[in-house]
Structure formats: C-alpha cells, structure tokens
Amino acid sequence: MIKKEGRITLNIKLKTLKRGARSAFIHLALMMFMIYLVFPLLWMVSLSLKPTPEIYSADPSLMPRTVSGEHYRSVLHEERVVRSILNSLYVGITSAALVVLVALPGAYALVRYKSYANNVVLGWILTSQIFPVILLMVPLYMILRSLSLTNSLLGLILVYVVWSMPFVLWMLHGYIKTIPIELEEAATIDGATRIQIVYRILVPVLLPAIGASMLFAFISAWNEFFLALVLLKSPDLLTIPVELAKFTGMEGQARTGPLAAASFIATIPSIVLFAAIQKWFSSGLVAGAVKN
C-alpha cells in the first residue's frame, strides 16, 4: 500500500517534471524567436532615447549611455504628429472593420456556392496582388478625382478596403473551409437564413481569423505611404507614414533621433490593438461551438 502510494507520487513528480521541462523548452524556443523579432525594436527605442551625438557614436551600445527625452519632446511638440496619428487611427480602424464586414459574406459565398464566379474572383486576386501597384496610381487617382474623393480620408478608406480585400477574402475563405458543414446544417433546420448563419454561427467560430484579418487590414492601412502622399493635400488630413517620412533627408540620411521616437509612438497603436484582439484567440470557443 505504502509502496504503491510512493509510486503514484513519483509518477506525478515525473509528470510535473516532464511538463516543467516541456514548458521550459517552449519558453526557450519562444525567447529565441523574440530576440530575432524584437531586437530591431529595442534598437529603435534605444536610438530614440540617445542624445544626437551618441547616435553617431562608432561604438554604439544597446543601453543608452545617457538617457534623453529630447526627441520625444520635439516630436510631441509638433502637434502634426499627434494629429496624423488620430487620422491614421480613423482610417485604419474604419477600413479594418469594413473589410471584414464585407469580406466575410463574400468569402462564405465563395465556399458554399460554387460557380464560375470563383474563377473570376481568383483571377482578380492574382492580378491585383501581382501587378505593380505603382502603375495603378494614376488611373486610380483619376477615378477618385471624378468622384471628388481626392484630399479626403473617406477616399483613402475606400481604396484601403479594396486593397486589403483580396488577402482577407482568400484567408477567410480558407478558414471557412475548415469549418464542418454540420454546424450550419443544424441551424438551417432551425430555419435560420444565410445571413443569420454567417453572423450568428460562423462569427463566433471564426473570431481568431476575423481578429487576424482585421489586424492585417489595420496595419496595411496604418503603414500605407504613397497613395496617402499623393491623395491628401490638406496638412490636417495627413496620415502617420507621411508625417514620419518628413524626418528623412538626403542620401538616405534621416533625423534619426526624432524619427525613432515618432516611429516608436507609431508602433504602439498596432500593438495595443492586438493586445485587445488577442482575447479572441483564447481557445475554448471553438470546442464549445462544435459540441453545441
């Protein structure tokens, strides 16, 4: 009896030990990834905190020798940066929401009804993703001007929605395909309409995919530079990439300190947004949905 109990505790100990080793291994692997992925950001933050002469040091260190807030002060002092962040937030969030709202039923239709339209859509996705975007700027500008959508954030939003659409559409198509059809059939029997199926039944299951798609659309809009540059004229409408570009100069030189500071500020909203969306990624939802 005692012996047996001992073996059980030993077993449990081995198990926890094994589990401990496993999670230590996972932590280690993740750490290595993080060094690769996050190091450039650390470098940028470090640049943003160094006084200018130290940025030009030939023997740079990751930890600033003197910490200085001068670059952040000079960036925040120009209200343009703050203003442009607000513009970009508006453009990014609106286009991200619109893309998903519109692409979700579209992707659903492509999965569940099969017709010649699938090939047309595929053709469009391929062409739009490969053809050099820069060559489309002039015709696009002409169309926007004929609709009086130049120098307007709405015009920018509409174009961003269309530009991230192919990516989001195909990704969502992939996710919807992985969902067992039984899930919907049960609902159809209950008399739900197609739209209800999409929004009531698929959305909860697809939350992680929707989160990823929204984030993609947001970041694409947040970072887009050239269309915003060409389209927007009023200084009050400029978006953050256009403002950031103003810290760059000749021969690839830049006002590195302020640029790094402004870039760090511009990095935060995307991170915060993901931290918020991240809850949608916590597992459990899916299992629940299938069981029900």
Binding site: L149, T193, V230, K246
Partner: protein
Amino acid sequence: MNKKIIWILLAIASLIGLWNLIHDQSPNSDTDQDKLRYLSLAWQEQSIAANKAIVAEWNSQHPDMEVEYIQGTWNSIHDYLITTFETKETPDIFHYESAIIVDFAIRGFLADMRPYIGQEMYSDILDIAWESVTRSNGEICGIPFLMESFIVLYNREIFEKNGIEAPSFESPWTWDEMRQAALALTQDTDGDGSVDQWGVAMGLRSAANIIMNHSISFGGSFFTKENDLYTVRVGSAERPLLNLIMDMLYVERSMAPSSIGKTGAAMLPEFFSGKYAMMVGIGSWARQQIVENAPTGFRWGVIPPLKAQSQDIGINTQTLSIPSTSKRKEHAMAFISYMLNQENMALLAASDWMIPTRTSCLAMDEFRTVDDGWNIVNASVKFLQSGSWLGVPGYVEWKTRVANPIFQELFADRFTVDEAAERLETESNMVLSRYQRGGARW
C-alpha cells in the same frame, strides 16, 4: 432579410458618397485656386524653419497671392512628381535638383522660365549654375539656388599627431600626395594586428556619381558625342582614378574597405571616432551634420579639391521649377524671385550648409569665414564644371543599370580595371541605343 441588409448597405454607401460630394467640393477648390502651392525639400530643422519664415513673410505682404508650404521628402519626391505630372496637379513651385529636371523638361513637364526671369537675378547667379539647368535648345527649366560639390574632409587631431599638414588653398594636394598621406595615416594604433585607423574613406555605394564628378580633374569625360550619337569610352583619361582607388583599396590598403558600401554622411560615425582620417567625395552639406552631431571637441577641416590635370570637379544644383500645367506661372515666378532674392538665398544656403549661387551672396562674410571650412568651399566654386553627361538621353538608366553595378563589382575586386572598362563600353552603348535610335532596344 438578406435583401433588406443589401438595401441598407447600398443606402449607407450612397449616403456616404453624397455627403462626400458636398463636403469635399469646397476645400478642394480652396486649395486649387486660392493659394500657390510650394513644395520644399528642406529637411534639417533650421532650413525648414527658414523656408517657413520666408513663406510667412511673403504671405503677409501678398494677401492676394498667398503661398501654401508643402513639405516634401527626398525619398518620395521623384515618384510624387511623376504621378502629379500625369494627373496634372503638380504644385506650382517645386524644389528638386538639376541632374533630373532637365529630363523632366525634355518630356514637356516643365515651364520654360526664360520669359519670367528678372535681369538682376539672371546676372547675379553664376553662369555655371545656369548651365546646369539649361537645355540644348536654350530653355531654362529651373532656378538654381544651392550648389553642391564633393569635398574632402580631414580629422585635424590625427593629422597633427602624425605631423601631417593639411594643404592650403594656394598649394593644393595632388591625388598622389593625398594617397601618400593616406598610406602614412593608415595605422594599427592599438597594436592588435589589425588596422584601426584608415588613411581615407570613400563612400562608393553610388559609385558612378563620385567617379564621374571626380574624373573631370583627370580630364576624363566617359561620354563622347559623334554625329549626334553619344558613346562611352573608358580611355587613358578615365582609368587613372579607377586605378588609384583600386590600388588604395587592394595594394596599399590605405582606403577603408568598409566605406565602399556606404554613402557620404553614413561614414560620419567612423570619422568622428578616428577610424577614418580623411573622407574623399562627401557632399559639402555634410559639414552641417558634423557641426550638429560630432562629439564635443572634435576638430576637423576641409581640404581643397585634389589636383590631377586640374582641380575641376562636377557641379549639381538644387532648383526651383514651375510645372507646365501651372495656371499661374507669373505669380509662381514672382514668389520664386522673392524666395531667392539675395537676403533669402543667403538664409536658405546658410541653413542648409550649401553654396549659394548668387555672386553677391558668395561675397558675404558668412560664406567666407574660416569657420567650418567655408573659405575653402567658397573659393572652390571656381573649379566647378558641368559634367559631359549633362543632357545625355538615358543617363539615369545608364547610371543605375550599367555604371553603378560595374563600379561596385570593380571595387569589390571581382574584376580588373581593364575588364570593367570593356564591360562599361559594351553595356553602355547597348543602353544608350535605346534612347538614341527611336526606342528600339538592344
């Protein structure tokens, strides 16, 4: 149910469209008609401030011809201009450089400014500057206001420590004297067996630009014109500079190998730390970067243009131009004349650490002082020359496709000067033929 939602979505979409039609009409016409738009490429804090101050002053004096300041950037200006040329919405006045606007003018994008230029301005600005913006048919496509040329900078402390005296303007160094000094200055100062102080650094990433501009002092021109056709020759006048660089890099090892992948101002950290004793082929504006960013107590100086057959060196100017689509060319030119009057040009040049193009500005004390090498930079203006490539159709493609890659391979020691010369000649003539024989290629 589905239909309802579709209708709602359509209704929302059309409402937004309608709102937008009404909302956007007014600001659009505002910006398009009332104000002149001026696109500037100033990027240093002082020069942005100077630009804005001049614009504000103009606006207070000319409420009927107000100017809107637009901040452009060097990275995006080219694409921006091309796109707006095509959509015919280019700002009325824009800032760019002579090396490129001549091509714009040939394509019909720029207004000929001759009818608008006042006599005072025309005679005060240097002839060599005008030459850089004049087409072969005599049209002037921009007002040159800042000049730039490559200069040589040195670290005073290292020179003093090694008993080397920097040459005066009156008795300049030859390229060979520079080379001897570089050899003497290349040292292993901490005795760990590897060189940590290089005699010279040359930012050769965009090598074509540097080679072409410096070859002029050797009498090298690369381009020759026969029967209206340009050809490229790499002969006895073009080779000495290439040979010299190769020898310094791979025979004498007195040129820092790490500098061949850099451009001008990117070499500054190593210059500050004493790793590079001299820098050859850096823009005169880089002096401002030194003044602002160098560690306190860093001492440096400017060496007069190096001499081969002559001390001549290529010129590039920054310009203000008016697009051919501008509806108010006289107004635009009135603003330019104000922007570039003697006082304002001096302000712009000083804030950007470039050389002003007006003779009267060059005579000002602030551009002749010994401080920061202004005296040498100013006196070197007489050596400025237009390169043989000015107005060669296809020069941009030649530089990107042929010259830069071949020079990069040469300086990475992947082939000899002879091989580089041979490849330059054959490939160049292939690219140039695209522009010279009615577009048919290869």
